[in-house]
């Protein structure tokens, strides 16, 4: 019998076997089979033929692979990835039934989870980046026979709040944010997330809304104001980054929170008085402070700032408690209850309230009122529910599938958290208290109400788009200055590039919101819009890098224009100098002529001013960027959300804080199409010196096509050759080696079409003075109508934007974000329903969200 015949017979045998098994297969059920009778058989039948013998494929022999243990866990993980993805066994070598494949990968996951439980655990199958390991066609296509789906739910769990949620929650205690202004949507408003600052750092600022004057420039301001960075950590470099099981609060963070809590409480009580060195700094007339302020250079010191007397912070029961003599039970209870609800978003129970009152009383006993209250109240900041959000369904009754529906505060806060970072609005709070948050219809009512009201800010939706697109990382990509200069960006002040990237993130945020406002074909619009929310620096970043001939022509033109301008300026100065000389002579002849004296002074001033202007113009001409053609944006004025003033507004080395003003412009046709061609996304998917075609391709493969890419094998030295005179495409030839290409064909041909932009995001037609090659190909997308070559990124995006598969993959990612877990096959009906809701509504995000948030997965929890 030949090898092929043997494989065929074995495959048929296993096929028969699997059909028998398939009748009872339910995804997620433990595959209670032993290694020898199940896994070993699978390996022998489908794998050993290639991965055995003296020269195994990929130098990986599975011949001696035994039951899962700590030592071989990495190999089993790799086997799991290959089998789950359908990469192995290769279809042309050995056919595996769907059910058999699912059972085998479930078995590996179960075994790895058990084996690694006390050794760091096995969590790869929970990683959102591996969510696509579940075949897309199984979720959205017809189910193979023999699979019985179970009613879906999510596990009972606790979520740690994200750094953004935490800072926003704390910000509510000390800063009042403006109410939503329908005339100026986009401006930072109450309920929006606290944005990162000019350097990309997430910080809580104290009292910056009351600063009237400070000494020094930009950095002096940034040093003198009080701010504290986010304490909770988030170590994922994006993608969907907030599954409940990712994070805890370590003891370092807990103790830091305690320290910051004391600062916050002091500010709640005393406002800016808690920040200053002298009470005279609180004044509406900074001149009064000037008279008494300490001598010497105050720049960067707390004493450098004056604050207005206007009370801008919220005055709360904590303030009331401290402003009154003594400590009454009533006041103390009110302060504890207020703080508890502000931090946990739900009222304290009587027991909880009493516990914290006791702690505060004990602290007061030890330290006296002032210090005791501050220390005692800070303990509430460490309450479990101030840092974690529970979905534990402790009180509900399980249905016949063992699922318990969330209700009351848990359900209300789950709905609130799906959309918001601040506590439930009055209506939702009332509904929870009155027992009207217990049914699917209750949830639908509240979700639809909140979605319809623009004044109820919903930063979680925007967060999803950041997580999905990853367009907000550009400012964190460290750029090599020389390489950045070559892109056409002026790097005289390299920090301006990073600032421009944070501005670009804010602009893209706003563009996403504008598309959500329309709520039609949301994904398609995001992928194909010609609109650009533009900040002045975008004229450069959305511009195009000129090729050599264009640069030379422009340089000649610019030189001629500069020479002509210089001549004019010289003539003008000569004329003014002559006038001064004449007046001077006239005055020498008649020293008593007062009018001549005055005229001479005026002429001298005019001459000095003109010389200054000419010198500035000359400097400007010499720094004019002759290597790019700037984009010119015009359109209606709009606003983007930026940080509170985190940096001074003047100074010799900075533009100061970020500014919200933008225009809504239109991108050059043929050069840009949708978010993926905007600098914010392109730079986010670049590296220090070049584009990152692999990363871009991976993004397309995973987030639009729903494909999976296995982890890079540890044996691979993932480096491109260092050849400065070769293009990235040329250097990427190494990924075409057989061993690499299996995976890289999924990414590289999808990323290389973006070579029409350089790594700062500028459009280009040439690279290294040769026409740039922007071709690529969609290979094995899962939708045969998509497969085939593409001319460039725009061509590819147009194809993808029309695809039903792409929309379905988008829905899968929305599912992961809002459910906090990867989809399983049991979720297939829900996903199909959610997709229908999106499609039938003409691509409405609101419809998609309503469908997801009223689904069983969102509403029901299963314990263990």
């Amino acid at each position: 019998m030949s090898k092929a015949q043997l494989i065929l017979v074995l495959t048929l045998c296993v096929g028969l076997f699997s059909v028998v098994q398939a009748q009872t297969y339910t995804p997620g059920q433990t595959v209670d089979r032993d290694f020898k009778g199940f896994a070993h058989k699978f390996l022998n039948t489908h794998c050993i033929d290639c991965h055995g013998g003296s020269d195994p494929e990929g130098s990986l022999s599975l011949e001696d692979l035994g039951p899962v243990d700590e030592v071989n866990a990495a190999v089993w993980k790799s086997v799991w990835a290959q089998v789950a993805l359908g990469e192995m066994p290769p279809k042309d070598v050995s056919e595996v039934e769907v059910v058999q494949r699912l059972q085998f990968s479930d078995w590996i996951v179960h075994q790895l989870s058990q084996e690694m439980e006390d050794k760091g655990g096995f969590n790869a199958h929970r990683d959102p980046n591996k969510g696509n390991y579940l075949d897309h066609d199984l979720l959205f296509g017809p189910l193979p026979e023999g699979i019985k789906l179970a009613p879906t739910s999510s596990p009972a769990r606790i979520w740690r709040v994200t750094p953004q949620e935490h800072i926003t929650r704390l910000n509510e205690l000390i800063n009042k944010e403006p109410e939503f202004d329908p005339e100026k949507p986009g401006l930072r408003t109450h309920g929006d997330v606290v944005p990162t600052n000019h350097g990309g750092e997430l910080k809580l600022y104290f009292g910056t809304d009351r600063i009237t004057k400070w000494v020094g420039g930009t950095v002096a301001y940034a040093t003198a104001v009080k701010s504290v960075p986010a304490v909770l950590s988030s170590d994922r470099k994006h993608g969907l980054e907030n599954y409940p099981e990712f994070y805890t609060v370590n003891s370092s963070e807990a103790t830091q929170i305690l320290g910051k809590a004391e600062d916050i409480i002091k500010y709640m009580v005393d406002g800016p008085l808690s920040l200053v060195g002298m009470p005279e700094q609180i004044t509406d007339d900074p001149a009064t402070y000037d008279r008494v302020k300490p001598r010497g250079d105050l720049r960067g010191l707390p004493t450098a700032i004056t604050y207005s007397t206007e009370i801008a912070r919220p005055l709360t029961p904590v303030y009331d408690l401290m402003k009154e003599e003594g400590v009454t039970d009533e006041r103390l209870c009110a302060a504890v209850d207020y703080l508890f609800e502000a931090l946990t978003f739900r009222p304290a129970s009587k027991e909880e309230s009493d516990e914290y009152i006791t702690i505060v009383r004990q602290s007061i006993e030890k330290l006296g009122k002032e210090d005791g209250v501050v220390l005692g109240l800070s303990s509430i900041f460490l309450d479990r529910d101030a840092l974690f959000r529970p979905e534990l369904v402790e009180n509900g009754k399980p249905d016949r599938h063992g699922r318990v529906m969330l209700q009351d505060w848990e359900l209300g806060l789950a709905v609130n958290h799906a959309l918001r970072y601040v506590k439930p609005d009055e209506e939702l709070r009332k509904a929870i208290i009155e027992g009207r948050m217990r049914t699917r219809e209750d949830v639908r009512r509240e979700v639809e109400r909140m979605l319809a009201d623009d004044s109820i800010r919903k930063p979680r939706i925007l967060r999803f788009f950041r997580d999905y697109f990853d367009y907000d990382l550009g400012g964190y990509i460290c750029k090599d200055t020389n390489s950045l200069t070559e892109t056409g960006i002026n790097t005289r002040f390299v920090q301006h590039h990073y600032r421009a990237m944070f501005d670009a993130t804010a602009s893209t945020d706003r563009l996403v919101e504008l598309i959500l406002q329309e709520d039609k074909d949301v994904l398609k619009q995001l992928l194909t819009t010609d609109k650009v929310v533009a900040y002045p620096t975008d004229n450069v970043y959305f511009g195009s890098k000129l090729n050599k001939a264009e640069r030379q022509a422009l340089a000649i033109k610019a030189k001629k224009a500069a020479e002509a301008q210089a001549k004019k300026e010289e003539a003008k100065i000569a004329e003014l100098e002559q006038k001064v000389d004449d007046l001077d002579s006239q005055l020498k002849a008649n020293p008593q002529e007062k009018e001549t004296q005055r005229e001479l002074e005026r002429a001298e001033k005019t001459l000095a001013a003109e010389k200054k202007r000419v010198a500035a113009a000359k400097r400007q001409r010499s720094s004019d960027n002759s290597s790019i053609a700037e984009a010119k944006f015009s359109g209606p004025e709009i606003y983007a959300r930026v940080s509170r003033r985190s940096f001074g507004s003047h100074g010799s080395f900075s533009n100061g804080s970020m500014k919200p003003e933008r225009v809504l412009g239109t991108a050059s046709e043929g050069q840009r199409l949708g978010i993926l061609t905007h600098p914010s996304w392109l730079v986010s998917h670049s590296d220090a010196m070049d584009n990152h075609a692999i990363l871009r391709g991976r993004w397309i493969r995973e987030r639009l096509l729903g494909g999976g890419v296995p982890d890079v094998p540890v044996t691979v030295d993932a480096m491109l050759p260092d050849e400065p005179h070769n293009t990235l495409r040329e250097r990427m030839r190494v990924t075409k080696e057989n061993y690499c290409w299996t995976c890289h064909q999924k990414m590289d041909p999808l990323g290389l079409p973006f070579e029409m932009y350089n790594h700062a995001g500028l459009f280009r037609t040439s690279e290294l003075d040769k026409p740039v090659d922007t071709t690529g190909e969609i290979i094995n997308s899962g939708d045969p109508t998509l497969d085939g070559p593409v001319d460039n990124a725009i061509d590819m995006i147009q194809k993808l934007a029309e695809s039903e598969r792409t929309e379905q993959v988008f829905v899968r990612h929305a599912f992961r974000f809002w459910m906090g877990r990867n989809e399983t096959l049991n979720d297939a009906p829900l996903l199909q329903e959610a997709y229908c809701a999106y499609k039938d509504s003409g691509g409405s995000m609101k419809a998609l969200l309503t469908s997801l948030l009223t689904s069983d997965t969102f509403l029901f929890r299963t314990k263990n």
Binding site: I158, T248, S251, E253, A254, T255, G300, L301, C478
Partner: protein
């Protein structure tokens, strides 16, 4: 996933609530009876740059011995210690964007700037993890103007335990004393300590009670949160058990703590506390930030009336102000060495197993591109580092290569620190540790 040691490192670094894996009081003893020799590293980061002319002996252009050289005036206090000194000129930190300050990039060896969060752990934190363990693995202290130290007693600008995970430095000596020696303190510090201890005990109980109904997976995760409090509270008890030992090293609280005349009073007592944390064996890594990693700072106690940003705009060589500041730094370095020398350890003294890294968080001057980043090393960390010499490098190896050398000497066999191969092609002419400093 967090492991226990990582978690412990975190709490100690962040809050200074000190505890560690080996909560055996014996480990606190200066003369360790354990098998691994205690080692310690101190980073002293002066802000505004470190001009090479203020440390390289006049006329010294080539690498060579310092034996016959005379140290320049700003560091003349180190003259008696020159056989322990290694002056290094010609490392670079261009990739750290040090204009005004490289912030986390100075100890991280990556891009840092105002407002830019850390993108990876810094070298001091990494070392604290691998040096023989102490109760408090990492302590950071910061020195600034009195106003800033009072209004912002903890800030995070230089050290980090990971991407987006800054480590706070302590500037108010009263808080720092409470943290280190609250159990043996008296007066107001004692009251604060007791109140805080009581609060943390109760928070632990509340946290533990709230975790009872969690699933297995959540229980493990939430358990780490509860465990953090248990460790903090447990450590306090353990420190109490070695109170007699700590008393030998704890500084005396005096007027300088409660009524400082100048900021330098607090600088001095913070330094004393830092030294005592080393000599008592509480910590193995101390980061001292003079100017707190920013571009301001104040030294009125030295008779320097100017403060803040202007100090950076001045040239440092032959500048009376900068001579005073650098001399003050040098005297602090001497105090550290003398203190460590006075404590027997193994067959020698603590100083024998110590290395001090003195440099700036901003290369050589305030407005710099980081092409030159002078460093002074003092001590040899158990014979691992060359001493008594000056080394002139060619400006092609980054500060990361020095940090790699520190990691190697501490026992971690790595070729690079926080620099991938792609960046290394651009910014590092070599591979592995800076061999010029290692014996």
């Amino acid at each position: 996933m967090l492991n226990r040691r990582k978690m412990l490192q975190g709490v100690a670094a962040g809050a200074g609530a000190a505890f560690g894996l080996s909560l055996n009081p014996q480990r606190l003893l200066a003369s360790s009876t354990g098998q691994s020799t205690p080692k310690r590293i101190i980073f002293f980061m002066q802000n505004q740059g470190f001009d090479p002319q203020t440390c390289i002996p006049e006329g010294m252009k080539q690498s060579g011995s310092l034996a016959k050289a005379k140290l320049p005036e700003p560091i003349s206090a180190l003259e008696p210690y020159k056989e322990r000194l290694h002056i290094i000129n010609g490392l670079h930190g261009m990739h750290t964007s040090p204009s005004h300050s490289a912030f986390f990039g100075a100890l991280g060896g990556y891009r840092g700037s105002d407002g830019v969060p850390p993108s990876a752990p810094t070298i001091d934190y990494e070392l604290s993890k691998i040096l023989p363990q102490t109760l408090l693995p990492h302590l950071c202290i910061g020195m600034d103007s009195l106003g800033n130290m009072k209004s912002k007693p903890t800030i995070a600008t230089l050290s980090a335990s990971g991407a987006g995970q800054p480590i706070f430095m302590h500037s108010n000596p009263n808080h720092l004393y409470q943290m280190l020696y609250g159990g043996i303190s008296s007066g107001d510090i004692r009251l604060q300590f007791e109140a805080r201890s009581n609060l943390l005990d109760q928070v632990e109980q509340l946290a533990a009670a709230e975790g009872k109904s969690l699933s297995k997976l959540d229980h493990q995760r939430y358990g780490q949160y509860v465990q953090g409090f248990k460790d903090v509270n447990g450590l306090r008890d353990r420190l109490n058990t070695v109170a007699d030992h700590l008393r030998k090293f704890a500084p005396k609280v005096d007027e300088r703590y409660t009524h400082p005349e100048f900021e330098t009073d607090w600088h001095d007592v913070n330094l004393e506390l830092g030294i005592s944390a080393l000599t008592s064996g509480i910590t193995n890594t101390l980061t001292i930030a003079s100017g707190r990693g920013e571009i301001f700072g104040s030294w009125k106690g030295l008779g320097v009336e100017k403060q803040g940003h202007d100090l950076g705009h001045m040239g440092q060589p032959d500048n009376p102000i900068w001579i005073k500041i650098r001399q003050y730094n040098s005297r602090m370095l001497v105090r550290i060495m003398e203190s460590l020398e006075s404590v027997p350890e193994g067959s020698g003294t603590m100083m024998d197993h110590t290395l001090i890294v003195y440099t700036s968080n901003n290369a050589d001057k305030q407005h710099t591109n980081g092409a030159n980043w002078p460093v002074m090393l003092l001590g040899n960390l158990d014979g691992a580092f060359k001493t008594g010499c000056f080394t002139q490098l060619d400006g092609k190896r980054p500060i990361n290569s020095l940090y790699t050398a520190l990691l190697r000497a501490a026992g971690k066999n790595v070729d690079r620190f926080n620099m991938n191969e792609k960046m290394a092609r651009k910014f590092d002419s070599g591979t592995g540790p800076l061999k010029e400093v290692l014996t």
